[in-house]
């Protein structure tokens, strides 16, 4: 072991590790099928090399240089821990409804991530999105209500809702959700929301279909009465957009405004109001704050270590030893 450790700690191995990591990074960037191993294996090699170097060389355990290398090792371990426990996902929540964990689409998840996201709870309030001329999306303000709280929390692209470490960010993915009630003859009304495609991304495809509880197929189209403002700044508030809901049922086409109903065979369909749905990106990584702290501590230590060298530059006299 005493002979093996210095070899493991060699600077040549470290330089080779750097080269492998750079190559792995480029390969994984250029080839989607390269897999995480192209980056993870060189990182693991560098972590082992660094740990061995810290064990073998006393200079790497002292002062700023020691702290810097310890932080670097800590950063690698935290990055690995983060990959094992992280979660990335997305979810769409309709205004007036509660976050439903069953609707979450998990896009990536570490093998050690639990089911904490299934216990989260909030209720979606109204939202609005500012647009600059040219339909360029600017700020999003989405109200969310937490159980037991009397004031809403405002969420945006750059100001997440943080619940038990899960960070919810608004996205460009959002749209209209007409609220409908369906009441079978003699039955109780059932309230629901129709989820239309993302707006304004699919400006001209604001349509969807739904099968009523009695099996009747219904088609819906939201006809917007105001064209998309392309040359001016504007704010999208779904509730305030003038629109008519076109319903195709039983071979007939009817136009409904908010509050109007249509009598179908054996049931009544009522268009209550126009609301919106918001798509959120979900991010969870328990190492986020520790990584930031360790990174800053490591850089401060590096600065401390080299300060003595660079400070002599200020000023450097002609003829002084460099």
């Amino acid at each position: 072991m005493k002979r093996f450790l210095p070899r493991l700690a060699s600077n040549r191995l470290m330089i080779a590790g750097f080269a492998l990591l750079a190559a792995g990074t480029l390969v994984s960037y250029n080839r989607q099928d390269a897999g995480a191993a192209a980056v993870v294996l060189p990182l693991a090699l560098l972590a082992v090399n660094l740990a061995a170097a810290i064990a073998v060389r006393p200079a790497l355990r002292r002062g700023g240089l020691g702290l810097f290398h310890a932080c670097l090792l800590g950063l690698l371990l935290l990055a690995g821990w983060g990959r094992l426990t992280h979660l990335d996902g997305r979810v769409e929540v309709t205004e007036g409804t509660s976050f439903d964990a069953q609707q979450v689409q998990v896009t990536a998840q570490g093998p050690w991530h639990g089911t904490g996201w299934q216990r989260l709870a909030f209720r979606q309030g109204p939202w609005e999105v500012d647009y600059a001329p040219g339909v360029r999306r600017a700020h999003t303000r989405s109200q969310t209500w937490l159980p037991g709280e009397t004031a809403p929390r405002m969420v945006g692209d750059d100001s997440p809702l943080v619940l038990d470490g899960y960070r919810f960010y608004t996205t460009h993915n959002k749209g209209f959700a007409p609220i409908l009630s369906w009441q079978a003859d003699g039955g109780e009304p059932v309230l629901g929301a129709l989820h239309l495609p993302s707006y304004p991304l699919f400006d001209y495809q604001q349509e969807n279909s739904w099968t009523a509880p009695d099996g009747a197929p219904l088609r819906f189209w939201l006809r917007l009465e105001r064209p998309l403002p392309e040359d001016a700044a504007w704010t999208l508030r779904p509730q305030e957009v003038p629109a008519v809901l076109v319903v195709e049922a039983e071979g007939q086409r009817r136009e409904l405004r908010a509050g109007e109903s249509v009598k179908l065979r054996g049931a009544m369909l009522r268009y209550e109001r126009l609301a919106g749905w918001m798509g959120y990106k979900i991010f969870y990584d328990p190492t986020l704050v520790p990584m930031l702290v360790v990174s800053l501590l490591g850089i401060a230590a590096l600065g401390w270590h080299i300060w003595g060298r660079t400070a002599r530059l200020l000023p450097l006299r002609e003829g002084a030893a460099a």
Binding site: I15, G134, D157, P160, L302, T310, A322
Partner: protein, 280 residues
């Protein structure tokens, strides 16, 4: 392009770029003509022209900022203009503190001259600032990146002198500067400072990315190349510490790292539509 329709800030920026290009040309002419003369006689007109260029660019940026409502962060025209100011200032500050840098000015100003010429050829159209760019941490990210590149520029200026001395003409032109070993030691100190600021830039960038795009690191093109720049810098520093690297070999490594950093700053963000460009 309709030049007559260009606003005043455009002409200030072009004037600044021309002044910096002129300073680079003058620096070479004076170096060739006055090699061996006292430093004070050779450096002052070049420094004055450089200062005029930096001031004109700063005025142009301020006017453009007031007109379109945001800083020079997005298009190649804007980034080159702001980088000419930051790199020009970095060189001026370093040269004022370390007298031996004066004769290396032609090398450093040549790099700025290339950027100035490039700036004059790109589209100066107004840009729209995405909401993700309106975060205060972005300022730290950009500032740290500019300090990093400034340190790397100074080191590259010194490395250029070492490499320039490979030929007889270069030895004559740079005869007044200290020996290669001293320049090498000084250049690597700037590279160490560059390493600190590059590391801080990556951390500030990760903090920005977390709340701008909901992830701190996603291997997008700019992140990938910024990381490769960091790796190249760290590998070069360790190689310099580990092996008996001659000043010329060290100078080649410094130039190599600067080339990667330059391509990362000015090449990658403008050849991709990845999120880092601010597409929302």
């Amino acid at each position: 392009m309709n030049f007559a329709a260009q606003p005043p800030d455009y002409w200030w920026l072009c004037g600044g770029a021309l002044a910096i290009g002129g300073a680079a040309l003058l620096a070479w002419l004076r170096l060739a003509a006055l090699a061996g003369a006292p430093a004070s006689r050779t450096a002052v007109p070049v420094a004055l022209l450089l200062d005029i260029g930096i001031a004109a660019l700063a005025i142009g940026i301020a006017l453009r900022w007031a007109r379109i409502g945001h800083g020079p962060f997005l298009s190649m025209f804007e980034v080159l203009a702001s980088s000419l100011v930051s790199l020009g200032l970095a060189w001026r500050i370093a040269a004022s503190r370390v007298a031996m840098l004066a004769d290396g000015t032609p090398i450093a100003l040549s790099l700025l001259g290339v950027m100035a010429a490039w700036m004059l050829t790109v589209n100066p159209a107004d840009t729209h600032l995405p909401a993700t760019y309106e975060m205060s941490v972005m300022w730290f990210h950009i500032l740290l990146g500019k300090v990093f590149l400034g340190c790397a520029l100074v080191a590259t200026g010194l490395a250029g002198v070492v490499l320039g001395r490979l030929g007889a003409r270069g030895r004559r032109w740079f005869a007044r500067m200290p020996a290669d070993a001293r320049l090498d030691a000084l250049a690597w100190r700037f590279m160490l400072a560059a390493l600190v600021f590059e590391s801080l830039m990556l951390v500030a960038g990760a903090v920005w990315a977390q709340d701008a795009w909901g992830r701190y690191w996603a291997w997008d093109p700019l992140e990938t190349w910024a990381f490769i720049t960091w790796l190249a810098l760290v590998a070069a520093v360790h190689a310099r510490l580990t092996w008996r690297v001659t000043p010329r070999q060290g100078a080649l490594m410094i130039v190599g790292v600067f080339v990667i950093a330059f391509l990362t700053f000015f090449g990658v963000p403008f050849v991709t539509l990845a999120p880092h460009k601010g597409a929302v």
